[in-house]
Amino acid sequence: MAPGAVLPRLLGAGEGPGVARAAGAPPGRGGGRGRALSPRDAGPACSPPLRPDLSARILSEPLKHADFFNVKELFSVRSLFNARVHLGHKAGCRHRFMEPYIFGSRLGQDIIDLEQTATHLQLALNFTAHVAFRGGIILFVSRARQFSHLIESTAWSCGEYAHTRYFKGGLLTNAPLLLGPRVRLPDLVIFLHTLNNVFEPHVAVRDAAKMNIPTVGIVDTNCNPCLITYPVPGNDDSPPAVQLFCQLFHTVVTRAKEKRRQLEALHRLQGAPGPHPADPTAPGAPSPGAQAGLGVDHSP
């Protein structure tokens, strides 16, 4: 598991860059072992690497701001309410460790406290953005068949990975055997559904904790939030809620990658140390420091 490889090889590379697919192919194709190159490989690896001090500066800059990627503006308590994120399961299904996050119980149905959800969601989105900014591999995991297509297409469109099929034991803990030697494991696992189809905690929650991989997870009132690094208490059963979360993660990851490309381009142009940090609130706006930057072309 050498992380120094320039081209991360998450799965066996047997096909060209045009045939990129989300990881975790259906079981008919050899038991969950997909063969695909990631969409990320056909991207910015073409440009020459930056000088180490500049790249260190790029990496350290976002950590100094409280909300570098401005994730707060992407949602509000009202938008969470409209997407029915506050609806939990019945009181009998309640997990003991979810009680701090529950506002109350209305006629037997648990209502999740959206103020707390907003805080947790902001932390989770911020963490995701920073991981994406640093070029981390993100894996979306869910075992809900109703949303499996949505999650796979979200992951595909933001250039990350998804695993919404049967999770083979040892996929994370025994990766060299199952996926091939020198495989880079994900740097972040995002759970849209923490439970599997028999209402038990998904194996990947425990496995990610074992492999010291941070996790972000949407925890409903019947889930165990203990092992999840950044839990987000919320509804994981209603389509509007899951669509909202998918859209939020997608926006955040795309925004972070775009920001990274901009900052790298900026530093490359300026060459010398001491660049102006790009305006954190407008990732799409042209940065003030670029002088000869009219011909800058961002690689897609």
Binding site: A91, M211, N212
Partner: protein
């Protein structure tokens, strides 16, 4: 690359930090600095879910509004199972009032449109009228109930009393149908003989409810 697979011992952060400090893990993982800068609200330490024993109850509270007293929870605590969910004091108090919207009129003439976020059901309009009249100074609940119903009638909403079709003696029962009030107050308690078996209901029937003297079949 070294690592620690003890997910039940500390959090991923504490384990990684200690491995780095000990010099076993040579490289900082990608997420380490981010976690350091933005730690979660609760450290993700493993906890074993334990059952609650004895009289320990979960601290989650029921959510009730003042309007619920008008809407009426009365029919619900007839089933002993559901009665346990409610705070028993509230349901006791609630049952003292015979005039409740849902027990008298069912869910109302208009179907509930759940896709519309600003939907106002008949019950909600009734409740709003009731509160308006209450603010004007009226205190007697029965009168308020009647007046609110009349106000709705003026607006064109016709409220039909619910036929209690559960018992065999339905045919011999005093007619309750027809539009609106002005009809004798009949509690839902009277209509269902099985209710008499519920001790709570029985206890509450006593204080001044006018029984129609129905004999069980």
């Amino acid at each position: 690359m070294a690592g620690s697979r003890l997910e039940t011992v500390g959090s991923i952060f504490t384990r990684t930090r200690d491995l780095i400090r000990a010099g076993v893990l040579k490289e900082k993982p990608l997420w380490f600095d981010i976690y350091n800068a933005f730690p979660p609200l609760r450290e993700p330490v493993f906890r074993r879910p334990r059952l609650r024993y004895g009289k320990a109850k979960s601290p989650t509270q029921d959510i009730f509004y003042h309007e619920d007293q008008i809407r009426a929870v009365q029919q619900l605590f007839f089933t002993p199972f559901l009665a346990t969910i409610y705070n028993w004091r509230f349901s006791l108090w609630c049952s003292v009032f015979s005039r409740k919207f849902y027990s008298a009129y069912g869910s109302g003439p208009k179907a509930f449109e759940l896709f519309n976020p600003n939907f106002k059901s008949t019950c909600q309009r009734f409740v709003e009228k009731y509160i308006e009249l209450q603010k004007l100074g009226e205190t007697d609940e029965e009168k308020l109930f009647v007046e609110a119903g009349k106000a709705l009638l003026v607006e064109g909403v016709i409220l039909r009393r619910v036929e209690k079709a559960r018992t065999q003696q339905e045919g011999s029962q005093v007619p309750q149908k027809s539009e609106s009030m002005g009809v004798e107050s009949q509690t839902a308690l009277e209509e269902n003989p099985p209710l008499n078996e519920v001790p709570q209901a029985q206890h509450l029937e006593a204080p001044g409810e006018e029984l129609k003297g129905l004999s069980p079949p």
